[in-house]
Amino acid sequence: MSRIKVEKLNPSVKAITVLLAAILISFQYITVLNTAIFVMSLLVLLFFSNAKPKRFIAIFIPALIAAFGIFLLGLYYARGNTTVTESLGSLSTDPYAVRAAMMNNLSTALQLSTRLLAYAGLGIMFALTTDGEEFISSLVHQCGLSPKFAYGIIAAVNLMPKMLDELKTVKLAFKARGIKAGTLSPKVLFTMLVNSIRWSESLALAMESKGFTGDRNRTYYSVTKVRWYDIACSAVLLGGIVAGMILLR
């Protein structure tokens, strides 16, 4: 295994690189380039990260489903090929005409779905190689995020286990009182919001009581830094995409 790991890169630089790459990707429709970016992301994950296969699958499957959805959308309803939309009604009566139109749309379908996969590849690469707290800390040090927001986000995310427990209790309490209430029912939403608002008040008091002011005037146990290789990796990725855009056009 390589000693070079994506985990070591500065999270903010990583995030900005992914964002810029996404913007670049949105300017082109080169299926090969999109596929290359996606495959590159997977290879990087495989050889240069400690990402767990289990987590990868959990996050990759929804991406794949979304990509397949947009593939179908392109296949059926690409612009400029209105035959399909018009013949939708005749789908059963004239399957050959539909199929012919679909072939024409295949390239659009691939363009759209590989683009989504390119985004997802970069997104997954970020998600699986970035520690949440380190990302937030890096947003404080590199992007000027105020500690008030930083610790607010961390505290809220750490409240999640309690929130899930409480949601279960609320649904059970309703059921026990003879009320059918799914997670999406406004009644459950209301009760959970009451809890959430109360919790945020209590948490704020507890944090302030521990001397938290929210300003930048504090010490930091560890400070994330930007190093030459962060910039280098970013430049290689973005340069590669630009080169691909020019060469594969």
Partner: protein, 479 residues
């Protein structure tokens, strides 16, 4: 020259609404000597918790209106101190152990605290290790808070305040919701802190816990009006009558209970095992192959340390947590009973009453719980019985904690369910409120032959009101 007091409050008046009429803290003046341990007693909702937060400057910064008053911490006006300096003088430990941390482990939370007070990074690690080993919580440092019991979380919380170097630690009913064993551990930690010169202010409903540590008790009435300013521990017994008549604390009144006659089991667990994590079939057993019966038409108290499986047992009885072995409700196998049918037989009151309100008005809430349609007069009468007089048009969420709890109990009691499960129905309640709730349960048992099963940490409460006491110990039920 007299020594500088830890806390000096002069003519403090605070209310939630600028134009409101009711003062939560009404013209309070109080001095707490440095190095002392002061226990503040008072009814639920008398304003003592708010008072403690006002002294930390948390209010009015986070709401409310301070009409008048001066507060000094160790001789320094509160207004001259920022949160950072304040935390060195005065830090609070709150009642709900789940809502005190912003990080997910104690080590990270300690780092957060030390960063707040600008400790140099290189000093943090040694300080954390020292404070954790002093307080014997080193084993908690890297455990996720979400896997800790309430008692462990409160120990962690105290550890943070001590790491902050606070010269005065204020416990806002911080021991109310944890088992006695953990409470005693925390008191041990506090003893050490006190011996090192620390000042302690404890707001609590259980004065007897503080025996041996308290140097002074204060009794407060509504609006934090001081009824007795300086009860010395050695003369505490002289004030028992007063505490009792103020409804703050005392021995539970009424007869000790055992109902006569033979009766069958409303709920019986046979060869019952349950695991900690409902989703993980390999997680450890909380209860392993144990059996117990809860008698019909009786009150049973379920005791045991936090996290030992009390609530999980309830969830199993409600078909919400997988179990092995057999559960019988009125002799019928639980597995053969449909959920909808079960909830017509078994009612439950949860720890957080706000979780179970289904309407926007107190009167509607009572109506929604009732098995038959009630007239306005009937509702009014019920509300009066439950100390919720003139509240029918209020939103349930506007009630105080104690009132919410009583409303939750009331709306479940009016239903048809003959078996009631209550998860700590009296948590955080003062004597009068506790007695009100227990009396209503008792009445249901005596008059309508309900079966009541309640979880509590209060042994005296269990002894007074329950026919049977069941403890969960070492993975099994002990009657």
């Amino acid at each position: 020259m007299r020594p500088v007091p830890a806390l000096e409050v002069r003519h403090l008046t605070f209310r939630y609404y600028e134009n409101g009429k009711k003062n939560i803290v009404d013209d309070l003046s109080l001095t707490v000597e440095a190095g002392s341990t002061t226990v503040i007693l008072g009814n639920s909702g008398c304003g003592k918790s708010t008072f403690a937060s006002v002294c930390a400057g948390l209010y009015p910064e986070n709401g409310g209106f301070l009409e008048s008053g001066e507060i000094e911490l160790f001789g320094k006006p509160l207004s001259s101190l920022g949160h950072r300096e304040r935390s060195g003088y005065y830090a609070l430990m709150f009642q709900n152990p789940d809502l005190q941390f912003c990080m997910n482990t104690l080590r990270k939370e300690l780092i957060f605290c030390l960063e707040n007070i600008c400790t140099p990074p290189e000093d943090m690690e040694p300080q954390i290790e020292r404070v954790a080993s002093d307080l014997k919580v080193s084993d908690l440092l890297d455990r996720k808070f979400s896997t800790m019991s309430g008692g462990e979380k409160q120990k962690a919380s105290l550890c943070c305040l001590i790491a902050l170097g606070s010269r005065c630690i204020v416990l806002d009913e911080a021991l109310a919701n944890i088992d006695r064993e953990s409470a005693y551990d925390i008191l041990e930690m506090l003893k050490k802190y006190s011996a090192g010169g620390g000042t302690i202010i404890a707001i609590d409903h259980l004065p007897q816990l503080w025996k041996g540590l308290a140097t002074r008790y204060i009794l407060m009435g509504d609006g934090c009006r001081i009824i007795e300013d300086n009860i010395r521990p050695e003369e505490f017994d002289n004030y028992k009558e007063l505490l009792r008549s103020e409804g703050v604390w005392g021995e539970y009144s009424g007869k000790a209970h055992t109902r006569d006659g033979e009766t069958g089991f409303a709920i019986s667990l046979k060869d019952f095992s349950v695991r900690k994590d409902p989703k993980d079939k390999m997680s450890e057993y909380l209860i392993k192959s144990s059996g117990v019966g809860f008698r019909k038409g009786r009150m049973t108290a379920l005791l045991g340390k936090s996290g030992i499986g009390k609530t999980t047992t309830f969830l199993s009885i409600l078909k919400q947590h997988p179990y092995e072995g057999k559960i019988e409700i009125d002799g019928r196998d639980l597995r053969a009973i449909k959920e909808r049918e079960l909830f017509k037989t078994v009612g439950i009151v949860f720890q957080n009453p706000a979780d179970q309100f289904i309407t926007q008005k107190v009167a509607d809430e009572v109506m929604a719980g009732a098995s038959k349609t009630l007239t306005e007069d009937e509702i009014e009468k019920y509300l009066a019985d439950y100390g919720l007089i003139k509240k029918e048009k209020y939103s349930p969420y506007m009630l105080s904690q104690g009132q919410q709890r009583r409303l939750a109990v009331l709306s479940v009691l009016l239903g048809d369910q003959k078996i009631l499960l209550l998860d700590e129905p009296t948590y955080g309640q003062d004597l009068s409120s506790t007695e009100a709730i227990m009396r209503q349960l008792e009445e249901k048992v005596d008059r309508d032959h309900f079966t009541v099963l309640f979880i509590t940490h209060d042994r005296e409460l269990a002894e007074k009101w329950a026919d049977d006491i069941v403890r969960i110990e070492d993975g099994g039920f002990v009657s």
